[in-house]
């Protein structure tokens, strides 16, 4: 596993380049097909509202997949991810318009661990609200 970032070059507090990820209804339909998660809350507005949601919401696993890209784009090698966990705190509401929603993700090195690994703490927000909590990845650096 060859990451392009060296362990010796990072410190606690090193910030990873932040990214923004747009998500529209089309994104969700595509993710449903690719992931096999066809829960109608992710594509059917009528159904979503019937179960008490404000509108269609993104798959939590979609948000989780986007958030780790801040780490994998930083290291270059997605195989360098040793651990990754999140808590789904708020749904990403995706309106039926051309804009959809935008997920903003930032990451920071929170600890340097053994064996050339570091813990990265991620924050993911949408419309100013935190959508992931306890979002942490352990990644092996070069």
């Amino acid at each position: 596993m060859t990451a392009k970032i060296s362990y010796v070059d990072v410190e606690v507090g090193t910030e990873l380049p932040p990214q923004t990820f747009p998500v529209t209804r089309a994104t969700l339909v595509r993710y449903a097909g690719a992931s096999g998660d066809f829960n109608p809350i992710h594509w059917n507005e009528k159904f979503a509202k019937e179960v008490g949601l404000p509108d269609v919401i993104a798959h939590g696993m979609f948000t989780m997949a986007e958030a780790i890209r801040v780490v994998t784009d930083w290291t270059g090698d997605p195989g360098a991810v040793v651990e990754y966990g999140v808590r789904f705190t708020k749904p990403v509401v995706v309106p039926n318009d051309d804009q959809g929603a935008v997920i903003e993700v930032a990451g920071k090195v929170a600890a340097k661990l053994d064996d050339n690994t570091v813990r990265v703490d991620l924050t993911a927000t949408c419309a100013g609200q935190k959508v992931l909590g306890m979002s942490r990845a352990v990644v092996r650096l070069a």
């Binding site: 596993m1 060859t2 690719a34 994998t72 090698d77 997605p78 195989g79 990754y84 966990g85």
Partner: protein, 150 residues
């Protein structure tokens, strides 16, 4: 209604192998808009030390969640799936999932809690390849929201 605590520790039989296909990995990577060449270009993956294209970190959830269906749909457990939301998700990787893997999942109920009328179930999915080697462990917390008062 609170779920039966005696299900804690119950392990379900390993699932039939899921064969990871390179085009499925490509489809998933495109669906999340991730153009990392390690997902689609075997040479790029090899340059990183992998024998073939690898899957994005969360790809394996599709496999472990399907396996967790044994728990979710266990009539004896009686979880109300129509009220279930995904609470937490965690993965611990021995190595990345890659094209050609034939993966089997063994699901175990790690914990059952009842909190403010919500039923909370923690499921651990151990993923092994055809050689029996451990690839990844997935922990999934499901929350069945309390039914509204009639």
């Amino acid at each position: 209604m609170a779920l039966d605590q005696s299900f804690v520790g119950r392990t379900y039989p390993p699932t039939a192998p899921y064969e990871v296909g390179r085009e499925k990995i490509r489809e998933f990577a495109e669906a999340v808009g991730d153009d990392n060449p390690a997902y689609t270009d075997a040479e790029a993956a090899k340059a990183l030390g992998h024998p073939d294209v690898i899957a994005p970190p969360t790809f394996v959830f599709a496999i472990t969640f399907q396996a967790a269906g044994q728990v979710i749909q266990d009539p004896q457990l009686g979880l109300d799936y129509s009220r279930v939301v995904h609470g937490d998700q965690k993965f611990s990787y021995r190595r990345p999932v890659r094209s050609g893997d034939r993966l089997s999942v063994t699901s175990t109920i790690e914990a059952i809690k009842s909190l403010a009328g919500n039923d909370i179930v923690d499921i651990r999915g151990e993923v092994h390849d055809e050689a029996g080697e451990h690839v990844v462990t997935a922990w999934t917390k499901l929350v069945a929201r309390a039914a509204e008062e009639a």
